[in-house]
């Protein structure tokens, strides 16, 4: 009865079960280049909110090993988003092998750039843009910070492009790398982007962090230094498992804040953001 799909993204393996074929078919197309694991870390379920909701105005309830008690169901046409949210939920609530930072990340010259900030700050779009302009895309959602090695481990799931981000990327990549446009989701319009072949092939290659940025989209161009104390506080809030990791999380985060320079950048357009990033990247060899 359940349609099953198994996907590995970086170090995490998922088993997705769906009451409908459609979300699994959409995932199969977009995740075709990803490895299929035998053993899975997490189970994600896409189920009807009520039995009759399988056919009648079908709506998807997101559940799995880890769940939020009051998550609102999504219409079936947004099944792809439901699967993405289900996978994120397992990572956010369950993952203990790395310190999880809610952040985008990309790699160049063997070192990682981490970008964090509020939802809508543009970090997803920026990570995707970097991935199309000479950087290796690592993640648009979770940067996995190694507890022992201090490196940023890739989690290159599909990029979840939102609103203005969709147009910015549509101009640069072919349609075969894009999912359907999902209109009117709780997060606005969404379109999924398959990361580059290289990003997927090298999903097990970690990189030591060289710079962390707090991008802010839509403001006049500016650069501000973020002191380690502020960085620490902001990153405890950006981490979903900092508290659950206890001492190991504290040690990893302290080391990160003491060794990685941090800047806040404001920019009006994607190109301006890329320029600022190149400028800062050159300053911190």
């Amino acid at each position: 009865m359940m349609h099953e799909l198994r996907i590995r993204v970086g170090p995490a393996a998922f088993r997705i079960g769906s009451a409908w074929r459609a979300p699994v078919a959409a995932l199969e197309r977009l995740y075709a280049a990803y490895p299929t694991p035998s053993y899975c870390d997490y189970t994600v379920r896409l189920e009807p909110a009520r039995p009759w909701r399988r056919w009648l105005r079908p709506s998807v309830m997101i559940s799995g090993d880890y769940m939020l008690p009051d998550a609102a169901p999504l219409p079936l046409v947004q099944g792809l988003l439901a699967a993405e949210m289900g996978m994120n939920l397992q990572m956010a609530l369950g993952w203990r092998r790395h310190l999880l930072l809610h952040a985008g990340a990309a790699e160049k010259d063997g070192r990682a750039l981490v970008m964090t900030g509020m939802s809508g700050s543009g970090k997803s779009t920026m990570a995707a843009l970097l991935g199309e302009s000479g950087w290796r895309f690592l993640s648009d959602e979770f940067a996995l910070l190694g507890l022992e090695d201090g490196a940023v481990h890739p989690f290159p799931r599909l990029v979840s492009l939102k609103n203005e981000g969709i147009e910015a990327l549509e101009q640069r990549v072919g349609h075969q790398r894009l999912g359907p446009r999902l209109r009117g989701t709780p997060k606005g319009d969404i379109r999924h982007l398959v990361p580059s072949h290289d990003a997927i092939q090298r999903m097990d290659e970690a990189a030591l962090p060289r710079l962390i940025l707090f991008p802010r989209f839509g403001e006049a161009r500016a650069i501000r230094t973020v002191p380690p104390s502020e960085l620490f506080m902001r990153l405890t809030q950006a981490s979903t498992n900092y508290v659950a990791l206890g001492e190991a999380g504290f040690a990893a985060l302290t080391r990160f804040c003491e060794t990685v320079p941090a800047r806040a950048i404001d920019y009006r357009r994607g190109e301006e953001g890329l320029e600022l990033i190149d400028q800062l990247w050159a300053q911190f060899p």
């Binding site: 088993r15 053993y39 870390d41 189970t43 090993d65 659950a244």
Partner: protein, 353 residues
């Protein structure tokens, strides 16, 4: 074998784990998480050289439960400090008690809220001390607040404003309205003081800085409480985990002299004898627990239904058998309060929702 039966069988005999394939592991892990038994399973399977992917999941679970243990003991210590001027006994219950007393039932156990038991006459004093130390009311609703104070076995839940952790202050172990009415005064009277490095009545203690003023229930009462929690309080949600607690305790306490006699005496005193008998039978059936034959009594046909309820989950972690679960939900409510009162309560809750 269904995945949930495989979970019970593997907890009972970890050697089985060597023969599972990937599909079986995926289902087993999902079921164990859903039943909140993943930590216990991970502790049971430690060092067996399983596939690396499985070992990674189990190591995560052990790390999580170790952190939960540490947080639970810290919370108990915060409570101890808040109650330093209270001269009655404060008794740790459930998961926190199991880890504080260093019991097998605490190994890998998930622990959420802090549950303590104090004398009913002291509730005001304890409540004031906790409020002064930073705990705050969760239930804003006057009806809920009144309902708790008048009918429940605990104060309305309190959450600490800085640590965001909940404490349930009990004055007995079942709602006042429930059919069995246990004897909390007797429980308090025989509760055991936690002291570092002491060995008392079969309860070993966690090495921890200071336990001054904190207690745990005596072994027989602890088992009675776990059994009341399994059967008489609620809908048997998460029953397999509660039964695992009971299995661990029975095995650990069985070695001490007169344990089974003490259990029979306490079960009668707390009006839980039939529940205790059934729990022994189910624990024996599902986890192979060696139990006292006289006390366990004869199998009943109802036992099959209880077992089916405990096993109502599939390999995706979903609950199955909705009608059976509904029957147990109704039974749970019927045991908790008389029908007229239940109707009035549900009516009020419905009008307000």
């Amino acid at each position: 074998m269904t995945p949930i039966r495989r979970l019970a069988a593997t907890l009972r005999d970890p050697r089985l784990a060597g023969s599972f394939g990937a599909r079986q592991w995926n289902a087993l892990i999902a079921v164990a998480r859903a039943e909140r038994l993943i930590g216990a399973l991970a502790v049971r399977l430690e060092g067996r050289g399983l596939p690396v992917e499985v070992e990674a999941v189990l190591a995560d679970a052990r790390r999580s439960s170790e952190q939960e243990r540490r947080a639970a003991l810290w919370e108990a210590d915060c409570c101890r400090r808040a109650l330093k001027d209270y001269h009655g006994k404060a008794v740790l219950l459930k998961g926190t008690a199991y880890v504080a007393a260093n019991m097998d039932a605490g190994a890998g156990r998930s622990i959420g809220d802090l549950d303590i038991l104090v004398a009913e006459k002291d509730l005001d004093e304890v409540e004031k001390a906790l409020l002064a130390a930073g705990w705050e009311w969760v239930k804003e609703d006057a009806y809920d607040d009144q309902y708790y104070r008048r009918w429940m076995h605990e104060l309305p839940p309190l959450i600490h404003r800085e640590r965001d952790r909940m404490i349930d202050v009990h004055h007995t172990i079942l709602p006042r309205t429930a059919r069995p009415s246990p004897d909390p005064a007797a429980m308090l009277a025989s509760a055991i003081a936690l002291q570092p490095d002491a060995q008392q009545k079969g309860v070993r203690l966690a090495k921890f800085s200071s336990w001054h003023g904190l207690h745990v229930l005596s072994p027989a009462d602890m088992v009675c409480h776990a059994i009341a929690h399994l059967f008489a309080d609620g809908e048997m949600e998460g029953g397999l985990r509660n039964l695992w607690d009971i299995d661990r305790m029975l095995r650990e306490f069985a070695g001490s002299a007169n344990f089974w006699d003490a259990l029979a005496v306490r079960a009668r005193r707390h009006q839980l004898l039939s529940h205790v008998r059934r729990a022994l039978r189910l624990s024996e059936r599902i986890y192979g627990t060696p139990v006292d034959e006289k006390l366990r009594g004869h199998n009943s046909r109802m036992d099959n239904l209880f077992e089916a309820r405990l096993m109502a989950r599939d390999g995706w972690g979903r609950q199955t058998r909705p009608l059976l679960r509904l029957a147990f939900t109704i039974r749970g409510h019927a045991m908790r309060m008389p029908p007229a009162m239940l109707a009035r309560h549900l009516w009020t809750k419905w009008r307000r929702s």
